[in-house]
């Protein structure tokens, strides 16, 4: 079947190639020699007990670790054929968007929240253009219908789940290629969580999504690839189905069966 081969080819193309990535905070080692390929148009989940370095690794991709004073990253991270450290952080972060654990909309209007990225990167030619970008981002963030009549009310007035979808819409308004999500549902109720998971499913049509989660059910529901971290090591990285049904490492097995965590 021609279709599946094409599909497979796209899936097999790595978006980010990490080799022997090591991160230290001061003299404390947080991540040890991690190597992994993040695939395009795929949802990759990072799981593992808390403090094992999932967020730290995620922050390497968009150089957010640069903003932490005593954090040092070594090893190789290739994005778009170039070392991430050689990319300009400003353009890099426009192409690799991030959604944080706690919804953090700007204390401005819903419209201005979404329009901020396109504005600073000069993505729109005029007001009508920007209106279009904002609407498209809010539609893809599955929030448009709920907020279209109150675009100029403040974003902090929305419910937690709406705020997080606003943050997702804000991140995708700059048309990134990769979307990093650090436990995006940990502050949300089950209904809002389901909405976000549905959204992630939509987003993988066009983006490569990397999601950190402490919920194995969530990883199983949304991701195609799963990486299991333990004490700063990448223990296992495989298709999600394989990780959950036939883990190759005993540590992975004990984690998914709930013996460590």
């Amino acid at each position: 079947m021609l279709d599946t081969t094409v599909d497979n080819m796209i899936e097999e193309k790595p978006k980010i190639i990490a080799r022997d990535v090591k991160v230290v905070y001061g003299d404390k080692e947080a991540l040890r020699d991690v190597s992994l390929d993040v695939m395009d148009k795929t949802v990759t989940a990072f799981i593992g007990p808390s403090g094992c370095g999932k967020s730290t690794f995620l922050r390497c991709f968009n150089r957010m670790n640069d903003t932490i004073a005593n954090c040092r990253v070594s090893g190789s991270l290739i994005y778009d054929g170039q070392e991430i450290s050689a990319h300009d952080p400003v353009t890099l972060r426009a192409r690799i968007g991030m959604v944080f654990q706690k919804p953090n909309p700007f204390p401005k209007s819903i419209y201005d929240n979404v329009a901020y990225g396109p504005r600073i990167h000069g993505l729109s030619k005029n007001k009508a253009d920007l209106d279009g970008i904002v609407e498209k981002a809010l539609r893809r963030g599955a929030l448009w219908d709920e907020v279209k009549d109150r675009l100029h009310e403040t974003g902090t007035g929305l419910s937690g789940g709406q705020q997080q979808r606003l943050c997702i819409a804000r991140a995708i308004a700059t048309e990134p290629e990769v979307l990093l999500m650090d436990e995006p549902c940990s502050a949300l109720d089950p209904i809002a969580t389901a909405q976000i998971e549905e959204l992630i499913n939509e987003l993988k049509q066009s983006y490569s999504v990397v999601i950190v989660t402490h919920s194995m059910q969530q990883a199983a529901r949304v991701s195609q690839k799963t990486a299991f971290f333990h004490l700063g090591n990448l223990v296992e990285y495989n298709d999600t189905g394989d990780i959950f049904t036939k883990p190759s490492d005993p540590r992975t097995e004990s984690y998914i069966t709930g013996r460590i965590g």
Partner: protein, 428 residues
Amino acid sequence: MSLKARQSKEKRFQFAGLAAISIGLLCLVMLFASVLSAGLPAFQQTFIKLTFNLPADKLDKSGNRNPQEMKKVSTIGYTKVITEQLKLNLTKAGLEFDQLSKKELKNMISKEAPAQVRYAVLEDPSLLDREFEMVLLANGRIDGYYKGRVTKKSAELDVMVSPKQLELADQMKRAGILETRFNGRFFYWPDASDLRPEAAGLGVALLGSFYMVLIVLVLAVPLAVCTAIFLEEFAPKNRFTDLIEINISNLAAVPSIVFGILGLSLFINFMDLPQSAPIVGGLCLTLMTLPTVIIAARASIKAVPPSIKAAALGLGASKVQAVFHHVLPSAAPGILTGTIIGLAQALGETAPLLLIGMVAFVREYPSLSPEGIFEPATALPVQLYNWTVRGDPAFVERASGAIIVLLVFMITMNLLAIVLRKRFERRW
């Protein structure tokens, strides 16, 4: 401890707290009562309304109404004419004044009046030889008589006023020539010499204070905000920045007079700026206000959740963009509140201004152009101090009036700060 003992301990504590608050409130009430009762009369003044028909042969000897030549007639010449006019007015009203000496009659009217009339005539020479009405200040002692400061009994011992003058004043009041009413000039007239408290006003002081607050606003706020942003967001955390931080807190606790000494040696002796000028006062007050505003600005910048900055950085904003687009606007209400409190502090500060010569007697308004900040002026609190040390009780009354004006400014500014804080308060 038994439950009962615990409860009674709690009761005692509550009672102590209530007592403390009551004492505080009582003191506040007493303060306001004394300031208001002493100061409110300053907003009233006793005036004498006269119908003038000024003789041109005395005030314009050349007769061609040329102000240049009319200037030759001094205020002494005008004093004589005014006294004559007063007599005519009294006669017309059917009042007796023979029992008063010439000097007593002359002194019914303020020593400021001749200058006032002379100025009006030189402005408009056509006033001569025709009837017009003019309202003149009454002598300060007569004014004091209607405010309870002077009595007929005290007048017997007073060289400045006699019971006969007060008797005439009463008659003039009944005839409608003399009245005590609101005196707007208190706010815009300049200071006056010791002999004419009735003419003294806050004009120069208000203008000087306004200039200085403006200078503080223009200099201290940008400096303080930039310092705060740099220290909070950009400066590396090392010994040197720690030292700067500690010193800023220390500066906030330095007695204000020290800033006066610094201003005297730096701005006047070294930089050769003029004495008594708002520019020097403004610079001293800027130095004094800076630490306060820096500390307030840093606190409000620190209070902005880091997640906001992270969100901006995550979208590809540069550090400067993140700070100026998001952190600063969120911190702005707090910075504004700190600024207003700093300005109120600067407005009420006296000590450093005494040292740089702003205590001088200034009767000329500084100009309204920007050069005005280099011309001599006084300031509200200094003017107030100045009046309290003069002998005449009329000046003490005016000082209390000035306190009310100062307090009104202070309360307004602090209320503004509170309103802004309430209005922009954010819950994250």
